[in-house]
């Protein structure tokens, strides 16, 4: 007869009381019992080995602006279109967007999103004017689900200004995060620099 450990169900011979004392089964079965345990342990470790890469290495992606965006006038939203994928892992697509589309269903879950945008006026800057970025969490069927903003004030004429935005959101299939910039500098258009304009997504956990 065979007994099993409580959780992992690893087999071992069942103890039986005999006249000579406690024995576990007929002599000569030891090799077979050991083989059963070895094969059960092998299956458990094979399952673990298969699970580790998928479950420990969380989907992640970093994108970058590779070509400057110039001539952004004031008073309206300008789309920041990233054009370079620096790294992608864990089933996310190679697109230059923070998104879950195509065949990467396994990547659905809760994500930590981060954007950093570096901008500078092309000429004279209006001190105290606003530079705002906002991120829309967009579903292709349901539209904008959430919006996140960050505003900074013009630090001084000709100065580079950094906008930084960090938030947690749930990303389902067919969702994308769009990034926009808005500014109120009336004396000059704005350029978004390539040197420090990035976006990143890292999954914290899958849908639970």
């Amino acid at each position: 007869m065979t007994s099993y450990t409580r959780l992992q169900r690893l087999p071992y011979p069942t103890p039986t009381r005999k006249a000579t004392g406690t024995e576990y089964n007929e002599r000569g079965n030891g090799a077979l019992d050991l083989q059963r345990l070895a094969e059960a342990a092998d299956r458990k470790f094979a399952t673990l080995d298969a699970a580790w890469p998928n479950e420990l290495q969380h989907p992640s992606k970093v994108i970058k602006l590779g070509t400057s965006i110039t001539g952004m006038g004031n008073g309206s939203d300008h789309v920041i279109t990233f054009d370079t994928t620096l790294a992608t892992a864990g089933g996310l697509s190679g697109s230059e967007n923070l998104d879950i589309q195509g065949s990467n269903l396994d990547a659905i879950g809760w994500y930590h999103i981060h954007f950093q945008v570096s901008s500078i006026p092309g000429g004279t800057a209006n001190l105290g004017s606003r530079r705002q970025i906002h991120a829309d969490v967009f579903h292709f069927s349901r539209g904008i689900l959430e919006q996140y903003y960050n505003e900074e004030l013009e630090p001084g004429s000709g100065h580079v200004c950094g906008n930084d935005l960090s938030f947690i959101t749930y990303l389902d299939y067919d969702m994308i995060i769009n990034l926009y910039m808005f500014h109120t500098n009336t004396s000059s258009t704005l350029t978004i620099n390539t040197t420090a304009t990035y976006g990143s997504m890292t999954r914290i956990c899958p849908a639970v």
Binding site: R6, P15, A41, L48
Partner: protein
């Protein structure tokens, strides 16, 4: 049973052990393997779905400055970290380790002219390892909404975290409107 493997201390019989006890040796080995597999399963489960909670203020509220935000919605809680019925201001960090904690807030104007509006993330104990985080925003005169956010990675002992806002400057209001806020914490790794 006198033999043990080099790194995992798994036991096996050697020449001095009795053949009749072979079943006991196998049972012992099975239980030792189970203990290690259980530990690996727990590590794997915690890495895949870490302790993680997000709370949100969805309904705009007026707040006196310096008082903790009161959250009305739990978006996710994987480890019993939030109970709005007991205390709607806090997320409980449930284990020692490295955590990412953060706050995003969309606030009404402070009235300061000039001045600063600051968003704070703090723990309930000074010894927890979470430094007070201040995310400062210069007052945007003439605009009705201000936004501040930030997050930090900290190595902490179990504790509670909360968020609040302060203003400083000229003619600041004593209260503000919180249009939306989202506070989070997730475990990153053990110390």
């Amino acid at each position: 049973m006198t033999g043990t493997t080099a790194t995992q201390n798994l036991t096996y019989p050697t020449s001095g052990d009795l053949l009749k006890d072979q079943g006991l040796y196998i049972q012992t080995l099975a239980e030792q393997l189970e203990a290690r597999l259980n530990s690996h399963d727990a590590d794997l489960a915690r890495s895949k779905v870490p302790p993680f909670a997000v709370v949100e203020v969805l309904t705009p509220n007026g707040y006196p400055l310096s008082l903790p935000f009161v959250f009305d919605t739990v978006l996710i809680d994987t480890d019993g970290m939030v109970d709005l019925t007991v205390d709607a201001r806090k997320i409980k960090l449930t284990r020692t380790g490295w955590w990412n904690v953060g706050i995003y807030a969309h606030m009404g104007a402070s009235g300061c002219n000039p001045g600063f509006f600051s968003l704070y993330l703090d723990s309930d104990t000074n010894t927890s390892g979470v430094p007070i985080q201040q995310f400062q925003k210069e007052n945007l005169v003439g605009y009705s909404a201000m936004v501040s956010e930030g997050d930090v990675q900290a190595n902490v002992l179990p504790c509670d975290i909360h968020a609040y806002a302060l203003s400083s400057g000229t003619s600041c209001s004593s209260s503000f409107t919180l249009n939306k806020a989202r506070m989070w914490a997730y475990w990153v790794r053990d110390l």
